[in-house]
């Protein structure tokens, strides 16, 4: 199976991934994230890095909507759309 890999992404896509990662990381409440149980912390950190909601939800073993609510509680933007002028 081919996993999403930074080094294989076209330039524009890689830039988007890095911008999104920076935004998620900047807004995240790291104090609260550090207090999460390991399973959830790993899932949330994976989401911050990769932005893959479905995979992170599976890692957290949570329903989709519950996981989205967890991300909101942690102040992590769930979706980011980069607008190109």
């Amino acid at each position: 199976m081919a996993y999403l890999r930074d080094d294989l992404l076209p330039k524009e896509q890689l830039e988007e991934l890095l911008i999104e990662r920076e935004i998620r990381s900047k807004y995240a409440d790291w104090e609260k994230i550090r207090k999460l149980p390991p399973l959830l912390r790993n899932a949330v950190e994976y989401f911050i890095k990769m932005g893959d909601l479905r995979m992170a939800q599976k890692l957290a073993r949570m329903d989709l909507e519950d996981f989205i609510e967890l991300l909101e509680e942690l102040n992590i933007p769930v979706f980011i759309t980069i607008i190109r002028d």
Partner: protein, 167 residues
């Protein structure tokens, strides 16, 4: 009256229903398809209430030909598994996208795997994929929204969806 038809996936629906002007969805489309998987994933009171209203009003239609989507779904998932540029697409999003392919309607999703799939395999899947930004822009162009920038700010306040501009 609009003649556009949409196919909506779970992530889009969950997010859109948090938006203060969520009822604008019915201004943009004549009706919208969902699969039963989408309804199963909807859990919170506010999402359930919004979804039930859309179903009972006849705006949301449960897609009746699910079995006929299987070959398209297989093809979508196969590509996403084998192409490292594309995030693996899960069945709920793949079905929503397959409806768009089969019915030639607009797919409402925030799934980046789907967006990339259309970018890289547009000839195979000639489908319009819209996220909240494209839908808000469409509503603005049709006069349902007065100021797009203000509405994007409202959307961010309600949903935490961010719309940074590229430098």
């Amino acid at each position: 009256m609009t003649e556009l038809i949409a196919s909506i996936d779970t992530c889009f629906l969950i997010e859109w229903c948090r938006y203060r002007n969520r009822d604008l969805l019915v201004k943009a489309f004549k009706y919208a398809y969902v699969t039963e998987d989408v309804l199963v994933e909807v859990k919170s009171e506010k999402t359930l209430e919004f979804t039930s209203n859309l179903l009972s009003s006849g705006f949301l239609v449960i897609y009746p030909f699910r079995r006929e989507l299987e070959s398209i779904v297989r093809s979508i998932i196969d590509i996403s598994i084998n192409d490292s540029r594309i995030r693996v697409i899960d069945p709920p999003e793949a079905y929503a996208f397959a409806i768009g392919v089969r019915e030639k309607c607009i797919v409402l999703t925030e799934n980046k795997g789907i967006v990339r799939l259309v970018e890289f395999y547009g000839e195979k899947f000639p489908v319009k994929v819209w996220g909240a930004y494209e839908l808000l822009k469409f509503l603005y162009e049709r006069g349902y929204i007065r100021n797009l920038e203000d509405e994007l700010r409202n959307y961010t306040m309600d949903t935490h969806h961010m719309f940074p501009r590229s430098k």
